[in-house]
């Protein structure tokens, strides 16, 4: 087997029963993004197969297609030699594919036993037979040696215990292939150890595992084969023995750097605009200290769950439990609400634009002027002409493509929606702009425009904190990059010294 440029791995004997899962030409498109493109590879029966890639490389999407959460637009999945196209998770489970993922789907108000037996509750006539239900649940849990009180409410369990429950449900319903989607991302070390043990036991029993992760130590500990995806394409499938951490990282980030031009936006960095000292919060970060000057773009790198968005939220006044010092323009401040943050000239383009950035039911114009509306009003009456003038100005500057200012935000493409969120904060004339994954789920054209805009803003003297999971983006724009891991700063790398390889190693915690 060798690395192919676009996933041209030629299977030797495709329909041999020792192949548990075969992906052939899988393509999946989401509005505005091509998540997977012509992905083909195979997973041997009884193996633990790692699926690696950067955030957004398409690894979770592939897992979800197998588990029936998503449906592929093109291509074929074969399960033990049989064509397999699950359109719903329960179909996949009936065919023997289970999934353990972060977004746990349980009825939290019901007990462990009720959740495990929900599909077919044991009953005598119309009456639920509790004893039978508890027996059944206990035997399901015993099958994976998990010790849990089946009478407890699922809402009271830890995330680790809930994952056990997912595995028990999958195995109990006869899953022969289980997809683990970053199962340890929200587990403590101790819980993770328990999960590893369980996975080892499952393997002994011949269950095939697909392990979606970008944590190197776990991959080397658990898996025997590794498939790397990059930008939705298959890059390589190789036995773990043929790889080392460096090689996997290289495969994951192997994008040519030349496609991004590390611009020197030529801004002379000015006064310090924002300084954070010893910021900590139970939300998931500790002792964060850094500063951003006017005209500077400071990058923030880290894996999912490293505490980047949580830090941003705390600076923007959204985390009441955060402690530490924030200094804006040389003055120590206490920020308790987004409103106070805005008054200090801070803006936040949040990670999830649909949930936190936009009111989808309102017009594009109303979204753009949302944060500055009082300043556009005389005696509370919105001056429509001025509002529209502002809208037109930012639509032009950001090249928002909507059929009119009044187009509903819900009808715009991902890139244009993101531009609306950016426009909202540009209109507010922020001096400190925190951008959390500003190009996630955005098409290539809009991405380039957003990049140009960030450089432009810095040149105008705005202090930018750029949180991104795309290392090329950080290397392209940031003057220096702060790396977070497990809620702490583990490094600060100036632009000239930063490489994708170095950053990835810092993020993943490998030497």
């Amino acid at each position: 087997m060798r690395e192919g440029s676009a996933g041209t791995l030629v299977p030797a004997n495709a329909d041999m029963p020792d192949v548990a899962v075969a992906f052939r030409g899988i393509t999946k498109r989401f509005p505005g993004v091509l998540a997977l493109e012509d992905v083909s590879f195979e997973i041997a029966a009884g193996s633990m197969h790692a699926l690696c890639g950067e955030n957004g490389a398409g690894k979770s999407t592939l897992g979800k297609i197998l588990a029936g959460v998503h449906t592929a637009d093109a291509g074929e999945v074969r399960l033990f030699g049989q064509p397999f196209a699950a359109t719903r998770p329960e179909h996949a489970l009936a065919a023997g594919v289970g999934m353990v993922h972060q977004e746990l789907a349980f009825c939290e108000n019901l007990s462990v036993a009720e959740n495990l037996c929900l599909r077919a509750l044991p009953a005598t006539g119309p009456f639920l037979s509790r004893a039978a239900m508890y027996r059944e649940a206990e035997s399901l849990l015993a099958a994976i040696d998990a010790r849990l009180d089946v009478r407890r409410r699922v809402g009271e369990l830890t995330i680790g215990q809930q994952q056990m429950l997912q595995i028990a449900a999958a195995v109990g319903h006869g899953a022969r292939v289980i997809v683990f989607d970053e199962p340890t991302s929200s587990l403590s070390q101790h819980e993770a150890e328990k999960l590893y043990e369980l996975m080892a036991r499952l393997r002994e029993r011949g269950v095939t595992g697909i392990y979606v992760s970008h944590r190197m130590e776990e991959i080397f500990r658990l898996c025997d084969t590794v498939t790397v995806l990059r930008d939705g394409r298959h890059v390589a499938t190789e036995p773990i023995a043929a790889l080392d951490t460096g090689r996997i990282v290289e495969l994951m980030i192997g994008r040519k750097l030349e496609q991004y031009f590390p611009t020197d936006h030529g801004a002379t960095t000015g006064e310090e605009r924002l300084r954070v000292e010893g910021l900590s919060s139970p939300a998931g970060f500790r002792d964060i200290s850094f500063s951003v000057r006017a005209g500077e773009v400071v990058g923030m790198a880290g894996l999912v769950g490293a505490g980047r968005s949580e830090t941003a939220a705390a600076i923007f006044g959204l985390d009441g439990r955060a402690t530490g010092r924030i200094v804006v323009d040389g003055r120590p401040v206490v920020i308790r609400s987004p409103r106070q943050a805005m008054r200090l000239g801070i803006g936040l383009v949040p990670e999830d634009r649909k949930r936190q950035g936009l009111v989808l039911s309102m017009s594009s114009l109303a979204n753009t002027t949302m944060a500055i509306l009082p300043s556009l009003a005389r005696l509370t009456f919105v001056r429509s002409a001025e509002e529209r003038a502002i809208g037109r100005r930012f639509f032009e500057r950001l090249r928002v493509r909507a059929h009119s200012l009044d187009a509903t935000a819900a009808g715009l493409s991902g890139g244009n929606q993101q531009k609306l969120v950016l426009a909202k904060w540009l209109a507010a004339r922020c001096q400190v702009l925190i951008l959390d994954e500003p190009t996630r789920g955005v098409d290539v054209g809009a991405k380039a425009q957003i990049h140009a805009l960030i450089a432009e803003l810095a040149a105008e003297g705005v202090a930018v904190l750029l949180i991104s999971s795309e290392l090329p983006e950080l290397l392209h724009l940031a003057t220096r990059v702060i790396v977070l891991r497990d809620g702490r700063i583990v490094g600060e790398v100036p632009r000239v010294e930063a490489t994708q390889d170095g950053l990835m190693r810092l993020m993943a915690g490998v030497a």
Binding site: A341, R355, Q356, L373, T380, R401, G411
Partner: protein, 355 residues
Amino acid sequence: MTLRKVARTGMSILKRAIGTQQAGLVFVIVLLGVLLALTAGSHLDPRTGQSVHNFYNLHTLLQTATDASFFAIMAVGATVVIISGGIDLSVGSIYALAGVTTAMVLRSVAPDSAVTVVLLATTVSLGIGLICGVLNGVMVTGLGVHPFIITLGTMWVVRGIAFVSSHAESILVPSSLTAVAKASFGMASSVYPVPLLVMLAVMAIGSVYLTRTVMGRHVFAVGGNPEASRFSGLRLNRITIGVFAISGLTAGLAALLGAAFYGSASCADATGYELYVIAAAVVGGASLSGGRGSAVSATLGALLIVLIRQSIRTMRFDQNYEWIIIGCAIILAVVLDQASSRAALRRLSADAVRR
């Protein structure tokens, strides 16, 4: 203006009207109107001996509008609450409390001049409405309980206060107040257009508030996506208290008008109105999940409900079926509205993909 010009302006107004949110409602109301015109028949006026259409006569039309006006006014307030993502079940009770308090204050103070009577009555009923509304809002935000529960509670509490304080009496209001509510502005003696005019005024003010003011825009934002509103620095609590204050205020105004028009107030007034009010708002296309609605539509929704009731009477259907018909009509109206907005959304996303 030449005839052609007139025709062209007419067409463009028509085109714009068809594109708006109200198009469906207006269509149904017009349809019902045509149906009434064709089927209602006519009778002979005993005094003049002329043939009078059973529905298209000034009295019946005004009576229909008057019937609608009391809860149409509250429906505008309810729409504001519903757009913000909340609900207010207490408006009927606030109406009763504002009504009896006004009547009692007027009875005990007994002012001489008509102007004082009107001013005092206005102050008391609007004041009571406002206070109740603000209390609703403060409890919803302060206690963090769903507005359905809070206003379900205050619905009974407020009605109870009205009951206890009025000793369940029906209290008369001074005739000077009735004279204002029944002013006929020199038209025929038994023509009372004041409730209709107040309803139109409230509709206009509500519409301007929702579409032209900062606060109105904030109501849409909070109802559409509270999370994004918080991320944009909006003061959610203040906005929530504001919408309940508006709802209470409209209940107070409706109570003033009702007490003045009918000449008395009792603690049993407007029982069950909250449901008519919510029905009017949702028939008018307000979404109970927030972010969508209009003052004009809510008023039209109220008119439609009254018109259905009136049709049943005028066309001499069995009145026993009134509730069944109104109930079905409400469900039908909302289903049709949802189907049309889903179609619009599909069209929009198809556009986005093509782009």
